[in-house]
């Protein structure tokens, strides 16, 4: 049987043990989108591949296309993101971002933009001063790239241009509603303050360097979080598996910061 071997790079998103010593590994690659392939013998202690195929690792891989599931023939780490793997808080964020990205990537379709965004944000996780705003940056940019850009300029129902102010965000129409439309639609909406709307617009249009310089965004981020997670749930039609863990770690981190401050 002739094998067609593809060489690409990718970010490992997850692995599932299968059989005696194998794993099925999922990766996001720029050239062929989502890759789901088996890594034979990768669970054996002396495996040449095992240590490279860990989630949230950037790798160079060779994949052989077979009649059934593709097979990983070679793998080499490009970046292991060590700092993330040694910090539970960063790891919870990185797991969430990779799972989210994976949901928007298809098999055998080029996904350069999503791959680059994920790579940029995972790299920044290790150095960014404000992790919460980085995650929002990732979510908002990802939605824009995949055709779900939140509409923040005009009413997403009637198209009326919105003057500065506080508006309701509709999860169904994916944007703000003018006061008239908001009166008609009551379900699945969340209120956004003027400053939160400004911040979302700013994130949509700017690069992370500029966004990272913003101060005192904490309260706004909590408000934006409610809108983004609600909108994301309505796009994906499911709750992400990493979300409960993400919330648990965020809560614990918040508690430990509060208790340190009160001491």
């Amino acid at each position: 049987m002739s094998k067609n071997i593809q060489k690409t790079e990718g970010i490992v998103t997850k692995h599932i043990p299968i059989g005696e010593a194998d794993r099925i590994v999922t990766l996001i690659s720029p050239s062929i989108g989502k890759i789901r392939a088996v890594a034979r013998g990768s669970r054996k202690p002396k495996s040449k591949m095992g240590g490279h195929l860990i989630p949230i690792t950037r790798v160079k891989i060779s994949v052989a296309n077979t009649k059934t599931i593709d097979q990983i023939t070679e793998v080499e780490t490009i970046e292991s993101f060590r700092k993330i793997k040694e910090d539970l808080y960063l790891l919870s964020k990185a797991s969430y971002m990779t799972e989210l990205a994976e949901n928007f990537v298809q098999e055998h379709s080029e996904s350069k933009q999503i791959f680059n965004l994920l790579l940029q944000c995972i790299t920044l996780l290790q150095i960014a001063p404000d992790i919460e705003i980085l995650v929002k940056f990732f979510e908002i940019k990802l939605m824009s790239q995949t055709g779900f850009k939140p509409e923040m300029i005009i009413c997403s129902e009637c198209g009326t241009k919105l003057v500065p102010g506080s508006y309701k965000f509709s999860f169904e129409s994916g944007g703000l509603l003018c006061h008239q439309c908001a009166g008609k639609i009551h379900s699945f909406t969340e209120k956004l303050s003027t400053n939160s709307i400004k911040l979302i617009r700013f994130i949509q249009n700017e690069n992370f360097e500029k966004i990272a310089k913003l101060n005192s965004t904490k309260n706004l981020l909590e408000e934006i979080e409610r809108v983004i997670s609600g909108y994301m749930r309505s796009i994906l039609d499911k709750e992400l598996k990493t979300k409960p863990f993400l919330d648990l770690i965020a809560k614990q981190t918040k508690n430990s910061i509060t208790s340190k401050n009160t001491l």
Partner: protein, 203 residues
């Protein structure tokens, strides 16, 4: 697919049962079934008795959650074990492997899984709360985290360690590094870093 007329119902039934077992495909299930047809009656009864006895007698230890025939298990109720040190493992099978080395004489705690955010498994699905309660009642001095060096194992270790460090309990993890007989050339960066960090002075 219609059953072959010459195949009896009890044979198809056993093939079906065998093929439900992990690592056994339809061909192996067939081979095992036809082996059992040829095997003595005694052998067949011994096998079925062993399986039903396993389900009747095996239970989970109320202390460490290892699989056992009595609760608390032999290790937990033994007076010769060091009760000030506890080793946390993912699965009951890990206890067997560590016991085989003969170098550890403390207690165990089986988590029955690992935290795996990507699969939606959180600390609440494991025996972590029970572990925290246990270390206080036993007045444990040292905890050895012996989860696998996979991402999920590391997440679990970090989660437990976050709690233990607040309570000022000495916590250690198994050494990370190169497996004996492996090849430096094919080792990933992270393992090499861990191996260098954990290097040992030669006597």
């Amino acid at each position: 697919m219609a059953n072959h007329q010459s195949t009896s119902k009890s044979i198809t039934n056993l093939i079906e049962q065998f093929s439900k077992l992990p690592g056994i495909g339809p061909k192996s299930a067939q081979r095992l079934t036809y082996y059992m047809v040829k095997a003595s009656k005694e052998q067949a009864f011994d096998l079925s008795h062993a399986i039903s006895e396993l389900k009747e007698k095996i239970l989970s230890c109320s202390e460490c959650f290892n699989i056992t025939e009595q609760s608390p298990c032999e290790i937990c109720s033994s007076s010769s074990r060091d009760t000030s040190i506890i080793c946390v493992v993912e699965q009951p099978i890990d206890v067997i492997h560590i016991e085989r080395t003969g170098v550890f004489n403390g207690l165990y705690h089986v988590l029955n899984g690992v935290i795996s955010p990507i699969n939606g498994i959180g600390p609440e699905n494991l025996k972590i709360t029970e572990f925290f309660q246990r270390i206080f009642s036993l007045q444990i001095k040292e905890v050895i985290l012996a989860t696998n060096p996979s991402m999920e194992g590391e997440v679990t270790s970090m989660y437990i360690n976050n709690f233990l460090s607040e309570k000022k309990i000495k916590t250690s993890v198994l050494a990370r590094g190169l497996p004996i007989g492996s090849d430096l050339e094919y080792t990933d960066d992270l393992t090499l870093v861990k191996a260098l960090e954990g290097r040992k002075l030669l006597d």
